[in-house]
């Protein structure tokens, strides 16, 4: 999960007129979200938009970044275009265009940033920029690659010409190439949230472990699958863990790999991570036609017994981090020592990898944190004080607009988490028989580690913050006040959900885990059907026998269609398009998904 996100404070706002095209969503006054679906967009408008894309390509405002065949739909091709301005990429700007085998455009998704007007000559040299970032990060660069220049859109309709630097503290910094200010930070860690409770580990169930002989014994080195799966046992050696995660640290060696003398593995952390990692590979291969995390059968590295890094957490680190700089999934332990390695959790983290690599391979960036705000209350009370616009949080001004506080939500992070829960659940159903209890497939996350922490079936059944439940519909999402520290904005611990104020004692990770259940609940409804408890809308699901159809529509929407910068609304449009592509407009699967998205408040463009 994204643990820290900061953005530049708007300095100036420039208003641009938007071209009215069906399927466009104003992400801001300068960003044009394009959602042209084959089902809801008039054909002539789709062609008009297509022509505009071609025009932008001719002027090099859009540059073809990738052209890939659709592994799940024969004949389809996906083109991804990166937006450029004066030869510099616009971070998160670009579109994905799906072509039929006739060459005609089927759908277009993405974001085009308009009216960029910047001085494109950096005032800072690379080494100066790097020094500033190192000072801020307290760590050196992750790689020896030169810093890249990008144009960073801010949530406030401004642009910053910035250096981009990924550092060894697992964050990517965006530094204003003129002023030297840090204007944006991306945390590169996709992490499972804290899980508190009791458990029995991996339930004493016996599993087959695909190992390899080594050193007079056996290692968790799976060579039976097309992608090698290697599970490292770091034996809670913190220094070794840190070194392996650090892109400038040491690479993994044979002695890092879990080893057993008689191939009868007794450590449930090793067994769970290794075996369920394999099962996740199997699911992706068989049900989605996707090979490993990268889609190219690259080696999959996982780590267990990771010491303090793994206290109540599991996570995915993208490249350049990890034991060979290609990313890693890692699984920690709960406070009682239970390893967090259930089928759904392992698949959840690996799906973060799929999300990262699939989006990055098309768009040259991962699925980005996308922060959207709404205007909230004009005042609130905290710690006995009444706050109004102009008030500060820890001495920093809280963002307001027109006398009302701005309430932010991280859409991209929540969507990322939702897809991981969705595929985590799908893998669980592919591994276990449906039912209730240990080693049974259900729509609850993490129950096999002792305590469920999210429910796709009934998000409201589990408390997220205090007595506030996970949301099951848009409009009930968690939002936060953000403050400005003079350089960056950051999420405060004060949030609102359904008009109610709450306060966090720790990190809320932008609420991405909490808000994820809006989308993952739609996945549940599309399969099983039922009534959304908040909206009252009813869905006719495809039935569990047809669950793979819904899984395919969701999975493909991420791996083939999703733009790097997305929102809940755009994601819903992308999922609908994916269902239409795979099963046809009006098909039972399309209908169920459409109803489910409507039921969670993500209504289609054309009703």
């Amino acid at each position: 999960m994204r643990t820290l996100t900061t953005m530049a404070l708007a300095v100036t706002l420039t208003v641009a007129g938007l071209v009215t095209v069906a399927g466009q969503e104003p992400a801001s006054r300068l960003a044009l979200n394009i959602m042209a679906l084959s089902t809801t967009t008039d054909v002539s408008e789709l062609r008009l938009l297509d022509a505009r894309v071609d025009a932008l390509v001719r002027t090099n405002a859009l540059v073809l970044a990738s052209r890939q065949p659709d592994v799940s739909l024969s004949g389809r091709v996906h083109e991804t275009f990166q937006q450029y301005h004066a030869g510099v990429p616009v971070y998160g700007g670009g579109i994905s265009r799906q072509l039929a085998n006739t060459g005609l455009t089927v759908s277009i998704f993405g974001t085009i940033y308009q009216e960029i007007d910047l001085d494109m000559t950096p005032q800072l040299a690379q080494h100066e920029a790097l020094a500033l970032v190192e000072q801020r990060a307290g760590a050196g660069p992750a790689t020896d690659d030169p810093l890249t220049l990008v144009i960073v859109p801010t949530p406030f309709d401004t642009y910053v010409f910035a250096y981009r630097a990924t550092m060894r503290d697992f964050r990517t910094y965006f530094l204003d190439a003129h002023s030297g200010a840090i204007v944006h930070v991306e945390n590169e860690v996709d992490e499972q949230g804290a899980i508190v409770g009791i458990g029995v580990g991996v339930n004493n169930d016996r599993k087959k472990v695909s190992a390899s002989p080594a050193g007079g014994g056996f290692q968790t080195y799976d060579r039976l699958r097309p992608a090698e799966i290697v599970t490292l046992d770091l034996r809670h050696a913190d220094a070794r863990v840190d070194s392996l995660l650090d892109p400038r640290g040491t690479r993994w060696v044979a002695s890092d790999v879990a080893w057993d003398a008689d191939n009868d593995w007794r450590d449930p952390a090793v067994v769970g991570a290794h075996v369920y990692g394999g099962f996740t590979y199997d699911y992706l291969f068989a049900q989605q036609g996707w090979r490993g995390m990268t889609g190219r059968d690259s080696r999959i590295l996982s780590m267990v017994n990771i010491g303090r890094e793994g206290e109540n957490s599991a996570f995915f680190y993208p490249p350049p981090f990890g034991p060979e700089g290609t990313g890693v999934v890692a699984f920690g332990t709960k406070a009682d020592g239970t390893p967090i390695v259930s089928a759904d959790v392992v698949a959840h983290e690996m799906m973060h990898g799929v999300t990262h690599f699939s989006v990055a391979s098309r768009t040259e960036s991962s699925l980005l944190d996308t922060h959207r705000y709404v205007r909230g209350p004009s005042s609130f009370t905290y710690d006995g004080r009444t706050f109004r616009c102009g008030s500060t949080y820890g001495g920093d001004p809280i963002l307001c607009d027109d006398g009302r506080f701005l309430l932010f939500a991280n859409h991209g992070g929540a969507i990322n988490e939702a897809y991981s829960d969705i595929i985590g659940t799908a893998v669980e159903f592919s591994v276990h028989e449906p039912g209730v209890g240990p080693l049974r497939a259900d729509y609850v996350m993490g129950e096999d580690t002792g305590q469920p922490f999210r429910s796709l079936e009934n998000p409201l059944s589990i408390a997220a913050v205090g007595s506030y439940r996970y949301p099951d519909a848009w409009g009930h999402e968690f939002r936060f006040l953000v403050a400005y520290d003079g350089e960056l904005i950051y999420y405060t611990s004060i949030g609102f959900v359904a008009g109610q104020q709450f306060t966090l004692r720790g990190s809320g990770y932008d609420g991405v885990h909490w808000n994820s259940t809006i989308l993952s609940h739609a996945f549940y409804l599309a399969i099983e059907g039922g009534q959304n408890r908040s909206t009252g809308l009813t869905v006719q699901g495809v039935g569990s026998a047809n669950r793979h159809q819904v899984e395919r529509a969701f999975f493909r929407s991420m791996t083939h269609l999703m733009p790097a910068r997305t929102s809940f609304r755009m994601t819903a449009a992308v999922i609908r398009q994916s269902a239409v592509d795979l099963f046809g407009a009006g098909s039972a699967t399309h209908r169920a998904i459409d109803q489910a998205l409507n039921a969670v408040g993500l209504r289609s463009e054309v009703q």
Binding site: L224, P226, G278, F285
Partner: protein, 245 residues
């Protein structure tokens, strides 16, 4: 005529003919070629192990079909008293079988998800050498035709190839496996059984003639791991040359 009466009548007739016509034959040599039929097939079940199966074992059933085989036989004997004599015969057969194979192989990733395999393995050889010791009762029907009835113990020596392992192909995701070959090992054993039969000889000179042989021999022998009990012997139907002196 009941069964007891018939047998008594046959014995009297044989005694009469033997007394009347075969006083001068002191011994014989017979060389025959023919078929052994009635060889029983057998099945062999065994476990199949592989490093790819984990703690589970696969199963394999090899079905040896049995059936006919070419048999060569040489016999010799001598008259001891009146029509009673002794003899010894040696028969040998070699049969190449196509063994049917079927079984289930464990999945490398999952418990209790076996994959069925089936196929055949040709050229599985069975060799059987039998020494038939017998007492015989000669019945000279005429100067040129002799009938003999015989019976006694048979000492079998058996060499049987067994399927001891298999080769198979599998590819990710390993939901199926294909049998590509089998490994065999030959086991040897011996046992004692019995033989009974009849021989009819027709001489077209004082010493030389032709004849036919019907002989049934049977026993069982345990061979190989397990072990596997297999039946040996069968019904020999053969013909060949006869020498008498």
């Amino acid at each position: 005529m009941n069964r007891t009466t018939s047998l008594a009548t046959l014995a009297l007739l044989l005694a009469f003919y033997g007394t009347a016509t075969a006083q001068t034959t002191r011994g014989f040599v017979a060389i025959n070629g023919g078929l052994q039929s009635g060889s029983k097939g057998f099945s062999q079940d065994r476990l199949v192990d592989s490093p790819l199966f984990g703690p589970e074992d696969g199963t394999l059933t090899a079905r040896h079909p049995g059936g006919n085989a070419t048999v060569f036989d040489a016999s010799a004997g001598a008259r001891l008293w009146r029509q009673l004599g002794v003899g010894v015969g040696v028969s040998r057969l070699s049969r190449s079988e196509t063994v049917g194979l079927s079984g289930q192989l464990p999945h490398p990733f999952f418990f209790d998800r076996p994959r069925a395999i089936d196929g055949t393995e040709a050229g599985v050889v069975r060799e059987e050498t039998a020494i038939h010791v017998h007492a015989r009762w000669g019945i000279p029907v005429s100067q040129s035709v002799e009938v003999a009835l015989f019976g006694g113990p048979t000492f079998f020596s058996v060499s049987q190839a067994f399927v001891t392992g298999i080769d198979f192909d599998q590819a990710y995701p390993y939901d199926t496996a294909t049998l590509t070959g089998a490994m065999t090992r030959t086991e040897d054993g011996s046992t004692i059984g019995f033989n009974v039969g009849a021989d009819v000889s027709v001489y077209f000179s004082r010493w030389l003639g032709v004849g036919g042989l019907i002989r049934f021999s049977r026993s069982e022998v345990d061979l190989g791991d397990g072990p596997t009990t297999i039946a040996v012997g069968g019904l020999h139907t053969a013909a060949g040359l006869r020498l008498r002196f």
